[in-house]
C-alpha cells in the first residue's frame, strides 16, 4: 500500500467513526510519516469548525483536572470532545511520562470523548511539533470541542495561543504576588484566567489580585490607538476536584466560540496568526530536512564545523545554506 492509499484508508475510516483508525492516524501524524502528511492534506479542508481551546499553566496548577471537569460538563449537552494532552520528552533519553490521563480516566470509556497524550519530542513552546496537525485531524473527524493541554509552562511558553481559538491560563493560588500578575508573557495571552483549587484558602484572594492587576491600565487601552492592545481576560475561580465554577467556565468558552463564529469573516487576524505559526514551523522543518539530503549534507556539516570553530559567524552560515538550497532548487 502506498502512503497515499494508507492515508486515504485511515482518513476515511477515522471520519466514519473508527476510533482505532483515528488513533493510528494520529500516530502517523505524530511520527511525521508520509501517510500522516498525506492525511492532513486530505483532511485540512474539513478541519475549520471545531473550537480549539488551549489550556496552559504551571506544572501541577490543575490543568488536567480542569480539562477533565470541562469535558464532563460539555458531555452533559451531548457534544463530542477531544483532548490532546502534551507532556515533556526527556532531552537526555527521548523517553517521557505522559500522565495527564490520570485525571481524565473517568471519560476513557465514553465513545464521544477521545483523549490522546503526546510527548513534546524536542519541540519547545509547550506543545509537540505535531499538535496542531493532530488537532486538525480530530476536528475533521467531527469533534466539536478540542482541548489542547500544554506541558507545564513557565512564564513565556505562549505558542498555544497562536494555534488555539481560545487560551485559558490556569493559575493555582499562592503562586506569586501582584508583581507576577503584571509581568509580560503567559498571562498576557489569556482569553480567560482560571484560578484553580478554589476550595483552598487564599484562592479567592488570588483571583481578586489577578483581577485587580489584569485590569490595571484598562482606561489607557483606547489611547493606544492602532497599537496592539492587551487582552482583558475574565478571571474565574474553580475547583475541578469538587466541580465548582466549571459550568461558568464552559459558558465563557461557549460565548467565545459564538463570538468567533459571528466575527470570523470580519476579523481573520487570529486565523492568519495560526496559519503563519503552522506554515513557519513546517518551513523550518523542511529546510532542515532538505539540508540533510545526501546532496547537501557534506556542505551542511562543513558549514556547522566552521561556525563551531568560530571561522564563520552563524548569520553568514544561515545565509549560505539558504543560498545553497535556492541554487539546488533552480538546478
Amino acid at each position: 500500500m502506498t502512503a497515499d492509499q494508507r492515508a486515504e484508508a485511515l482518513a476515511a475510516a477515522a471520519r466514519g467513526g473508527d476510533r482505532r483508525a483515528l488513533a493510528r492516524l494520529l500516530s502517523e501524524v505524530e511520527d511525521r510519516t508520509a501517510a500522516g502528511e498525506a492525511a492532513v492534506r486530505r483532511l485540512y479542508g474539513e478541519a475549520g469548525a471545531a473550537h480549539l481551546v488551549g489550556v496552559t499553566g504551571a506544572p501541577g496548577a490543575g490543568k488536567s483536572t480542569l480539562v477533565a471537569a470541562l469535558v464532563g460538563e460539555a458531555r452533559k449537552s451531548g457534544r463530542s470532545v477531544a483532548v490532546l494532552a502534551v507532556d515533556p520528552s526527556s532531552p537526555i533519553t527521548g523517553g517521557a511520562i505522559l500522565g495527564d490521563r490520570v485525571r481524565m480516566q473517568q471519560h476513557a470509556s465514553d465513545p464521544d470523548v477521545f483523549i490522546r497524550s503526546m510527548a513534546s519530542r524536542g519541540h519547545g513552546g509547550g506543545l509537540a511539533g505535531a499538535t496542531i496537525a493532530a488537532a486538525s485531524v480530530l476536528a475533521a473527524c467531527g469533534f466539536e470541542l478540542i482541548f489542547i493541554e500544554t506541558v507545564g509552562t513557565g512564564q513565556s511558553e505562549v505558542e498555544v495561543a497562536s494555534i488555539a481559538d481560545t487560551t485559558v491560563v490556569v493559575q493555582a493560588p499562592e503562586m506569586g504576588d501582584e508583581v507576577q500578575a503584571i509581568k509580560a508573557g503567559l498571562l498576557e495571552v489569556a482569553d480567560l484566567v482560571v484560578v484553580t483549587k478554589g476550595d483552598r484558602p487564599g484562592a479567592e484572594r488570588a483571583a481578586a489580585q489577578l483581577r485587580g492587576m489584569l485590569t490595571v491600565g484598562a482606561q489607557h487601552d483606547r489611547a493606544l490607538g492602532d497599537r496592539p492592545r492587551p487582552k482583558r481576560p475574565d478571571v474565574l475561580l474553580a475547583s475541578g476536584a469538587i466541580g465548582t465554577g466549571v459550568p461558568e467556565i464552559l459558558a465563557a468558552l461557549d460565548r467565545r466560540a459564538a463570538a468567533r463564529g459571528e466575527h470570523r469573516d470580519r476579523s481573520p487576524a487570529a486565523a492568519l496568526a495560526r496559519a503563519e505559526a503552522q506554515v513557519a514551523g513546517l518551513l523550518g522543518e523542511r529546510i532542515a530536512r532538505r539540508l540533510r539530503d545526501p546532496q547537501h549534507d557534506a556542505r551542511r556539516l562543513e558549514t556547522l564545523a566552521a561556525v563551531a570553530a568560530h571561522e564563520l559567524d552563524p548569520y553568514t552560515a544561515a545565509d549560505e545554506l539558504l543560498a545553497l538550497l535556492a541554487a539546488g532548487a533552480k538546478g
Binding site: 523517553g95 517521557a96 505522559l98 500522565g99 490521563r101 480516566q105 483523549i115 497524550s117
Partner: protein, 135 residues
C-alpha cells in the same frame, strides 16, 4: 524520520492501592527512552482497553497485587482482542503465583514479571517482542 519511541501504557487494574512499583517501572522505562502513558490506580478493564486504543500503544503493562489477576487480566486481553488490538504486547507484574502463569499466558498475557525483575529485563523483553509498525 527519526526512530519512533516505543509507547507503553502502564495501568493498575482493580482495587489495590499499591502503585509504587508501577511508578518506579514507569520512571525506569522513561529512562530507557520509552514514552510511558501512566493511567493510575483503580482502572476497569474497559478503561485500560480504551486507553490502549486511543493512545495507539505498542505495549500494555499491568501491575496487580490484589489477587484478582485471574479475573481482571483475561477480561483485559479479551477486550483488547475485541477492539482489534491483537498486535499489542501485554505484560503483567506484581504478585502473581507461578501456578497461575500458564492460564494467564494462554489468555494472551505474553510475559509475567515477578518480584526481583530488573527494569533492564523488562525493557529488553519489550524491545525484543514489540510489534513492528506497518508503514
Amino acid at each position: 524520520m527519526s526512530e519512533r519511541p516505543i509507547k507503553v501504557l502502564i495501568a493498575k487494574p482493580g482495587l489495590d492501592g499499591h502503585d509504587r512499583g508501577a511508578k518506579v517501572l514507569a520512571r525506569g522505562l522513561r529512562d530507557e527512552g520509552f514514552e510511558v502513558i501512566y493511567t493510575g490506580l483503580r482502572q476497569t478493564p474497559e478503561m485500560v482497553v480504551s486507553a490502549a486504543l486511543q493512545e495507539d500503544v505498542d505495549v500494555v503493562g499491568l501491575s496487580i497485587l490484589s489477587g484478582a489477576h485471574m479475573t481482571l487480566l483475561p477480561r483485559i486481553t479479551d477486550g483488547l482482542h475485541e477492539a482489534g488490538l491483537d498486535d499489542v504486547l501485554v505484560t503483567a507484574g506484581g504478585i502473581i503465583p507461578d501456578d497461575d502463569v500458564p492460564a494467564l499466558e494462554a489468555a494472551g498475557v505474553s510475559r509475567i514479571f515477578g518480584p526481583g525483575t530488573t527494569i533492564r529485563e523488562v525493557a529488553e523483553y519489550i524491545r525484543g517482542n514489540v510489534r513492528s509498525r506497518e508503514r
